[in-house]
């Protein structure tokens, strides 16, 4: 068959099989590795989060989560919540349009787990109640994270957390959105959330 009558897929496959330089036998599949520091402590997570521009929000004596959020963001006009621990002013499930989400000052979610090496927190459609874009439209993000749901490094994350195989959309957010595209100046708060705060809960 000529290139014209074959599908693009078949042409590409045929080209690859016909001309491939590296021989299969010479390059066996290396076993999976787990390298480096696997410390999964909250202290390591906190240090990494700070490096990525995120921050910890700790509860003061007798203070509830919602009170702590209101203390951290005294100016906020609304608080959108995806967690039962916080009542907020509206629930994420009740967002009907993205334009509504665009006006959210503070969003609170629970992460499935965190990565101590990078200060990253994992969110999927499960935690976001299918509001995938809305979390990124909010101005500020509060993340509830359990100290029991920490993995050491990225090797541990991919090997130990089943979410990578079950989630349709899974994002590891390590600090807030950022850019250094203008004259190398690091700016926290680019196009996604302007700040990301984690509460141990």
């Amino acid at each position: 068959m000529s290139d014209e009558t074959m599908s693009a897929r078949d042409v590409i496959m045929q080209r690859l099989k016909a001309k491939k330089s590296p021989q299969e036998g010479a390059y066996p599949l290396p076993p999976v590795v787990t390298l480096g520091d696997q410390d999964a402590s909250p202290e390591r997570f906190e240090a990494s989060l700070a490096l990525m521009g995120g921050r910890m929000l700790s509860l003061q004596d007798g203070e509830g989560i919602e009170q702590a959020i209101r203390r951290a963001f005294p100016e906020m006009r609304n608080l959108c919540t995806a967690v039962p621990e916080v009542e907020g002013t509206l629930r994420i499930e009740d967002l009907e349009t993205h334009e509504q989400a665009d006006k959210v000052d503070v969003m609170v979610v629970r992460a499935a787990f965190g990565v101590a090496e990078t200060g990253g927190i994992f969110l999927s459609e499960v935690e976001l109640k299918d509001h995938l874009a809305d979390v990124h439209l909010a101005q500020h993000l509060i993340v509830l994270l359990s100290k029991n749901e920490l993995v050491g490094n990225m090797h541990n994350a991919y090997q130990e957390r089943s979410e990578f195989r079950t989630a349709g959309y899974g994002v590891l957010m390590s600090g807030p959105s950022a850019t250094a595209d203008i004259q190398g100046v690091l700016i926290r708060g680019a196009q996604g959330v302007r700040s990301l705060s984690v509460i141990w809960a």
């Binding site: 693009a8 491939k20 390298l35 993205h98 990078t118 991919y158 203008i182």
Partner: protein
């Protein structure tokens, strides 16, 4: 597209004329290199990670048909539409068709080098499709109608004042803004309505995972997660070389990628797409565009291991002092110089010569591509194919003959010493000596090693060889 060789040296000279730009560019890229080094030094496993990354990529490339089939099958099971494109033109037609089928006409797009490689914007825009780049650096380049200067930081050759002028033209902001924060805010405010109204989201992707049929997008600004998730239609374009076999292999690559690129432990967003969102539709376009041909080249196939971190660009003294625009290609710097000639050997024939052969690119490469060796091999290939300029070729030939004959060489050297001492500059520095354009010729030495040795060696009797030659 013009087929004329990119005048790299002349374009670099243009870029170097402005001292503030020259200085900032050099310093900024070196700073990224140093931040990368800091990360490397705190990780004792760094070299082991590089080795593992290299072996995984080599294995995958050696078994590419099998992993592509595995990816396709798993992605289809997840509900993703998988398309194949032989070249850039076919890729662009696929995108056009998907849009047409949906009655769509506005694309919001995160940064992807491969759509630039396919010249997608140039194809779609005359057909009435708006394509808005949402990455800040890529947006600046789009507004200025320029190719990206760097794979990670596309507008790195520009200063705040340049961006302020560009934004003033398109965003109606003050042309005298000198605060990058204010400009980034202007981009955020300008991008939001476009993001909210776009009907099609497009992203590139850093990795395809064969085992799960998912793909991974590593970004910092949050624009990719917005572009992909806001509309109900998400199209992702990736090169066929982007595969890794297993989910667990990502640990190796994610740990290396941003550390090598910017010196940060990870990108702010590491996003895994495995199936379309609820009520949405997802398409993945797998692009060949010369990759299968490169995989058949014994000397150059390992360039397909590249994960586009840009570390080789940041470390390269030539790239830092010439700027990405001088390469005239989507891919610049050392990695560009070894992959661009596979797209067009004539047009990019000058690029493998834009190197001092110091090997720093090879040393920083997280997937251990022997970049400087491939630069050397390209020079040889291009010389054989007569793709290098006449003067350079003839001088190389003369030098070759000279260096092959010791007596001729010695005669020439002693002549050169006299010439360097006595000749006027216009004789020494002219078009026959491109090397001398930006460099001073070495000071003549009083005595060559050979003549010194002849005078000073203990045994002053002539060797047999010299006897016979005399």
């Amino acid at each position: 597209m013009s087929n004329r060789p990119v005048p790299h040296a002349r374009l670099a000279a243009e870029f170097l004329k402005d001292e503030p730009h020259r200085h900032f560019h050099d310093e900024r890229l070196w700073d990224m290199r140093q931040k990368r080094d800091e990360q490397m030094h705190i990780m004792p496993e760094w070299q082991e990670l590089r080795e593992q990354a290299s072996r995984l990529k080599e294995h995958t490339l050696a078994h590419l048909p099998q992993y592509l089939e595995q990816f396709e099958e798993n992605a289809r099971c997840n509900g993703i539409h998988v398309h194949w494109a032989r070249d850039g033109a076919e890729h662009n037609r696929i995108v056009e068709k998907i849009l047409k089928d949906h009655g769509h006409s506005s694309i919001i797009k995160s940064k992807s080098m491969i759509t630039d490689e396919c010249e997608m914007r140039e194809y779609l825009e005359p057909k009435g499709v708006s394509v808005t780049e949402t990455d800040l650096g890529e947006r600046i380049q789009q507004l200025d109608n320029e190719l990206p200067s760097h794979v990670v930081v596309p507008a790195v050759q520009k200063l705040t004042t340049d961006v302020a002028k560009t934004f003033a033209r398109y965003y109606n902001t003050d042309p005298n803004i000198d605060d990058p924060h204010a400009l980034a805010e202007a981009q955020r405010n300008a991008a939001r309505p476009v993001l909210l109204s776009g009907d099609t989201g497009m992203t590139g992707g850093n990795f395809l995972v064969a085992e799960t049929g998912s793909f991974v997008v590593c970004t910092n600004e949050g624009n990719a997660d917005l572009s992909a998730n806001l509309p109900n239609l998400h199209i992702a374009t990736l090169g066929i070389e982007r595969l890794v076999p297993r989910m667990a292999d990502l640990g190796v690559f994610i740990r290396l990628l941003s550390r090598s690129a910017l010196g940060s432990p990870i990108t702010q967003y590491t996003t895994h797409f495995r199936r379309p969102k609820k009520g949405g539709e997802m398409h993945v376009i797998l692009v060949d565009n010369g990759r299968s041909e490169r995989l058949g080249m014994d000397d150059f196939w390992t360039s397909l291991k590249c994960i586009r971190c840009g570390a080789c660009m940041n470390t390269c003294p030539v790239y830092r002092r010439s700027g990405g625009q001088s390469y005239g290609s989507v891919y610049s710097g050392p990695i560009g110089a070894i992959i661009d000639p596979t797209f067009n050997a004539r047009k990019f024939s000058t690029l493998p010569f834009a190197s001092t052969m110091n090997g720093s690119c090879t040393n920083v490469c997280p997937v251990k591509i022997d970049i400087h060796e491939q630069l050397y091999k390209w020079r040889r290939v291009l010389a054989e194919r007569h793709e290098i300029p006449f003067v350079k070729r003839e001088i190389m030939k003369m030098a070759g003959r000279l260096l092959a004959q010791p007596t001729m060489y010695r005669l020439a050297i002693s002549g050169t010493e006299v010439a360097l001492k006595t000749m006027p500059r216009f004789v020494l520095y002219n078009y026959l000596n491109p090397w001398g354009k930006h460099r001073e010729l070495p000071h003549p030495v009083k005595e060559t090693f050979h003549s010194w040795y002849k005078k000073n060696r203990l045994n002053r009797t002539k060797t047999q060889r010299e006897e016979t030659q005399a």
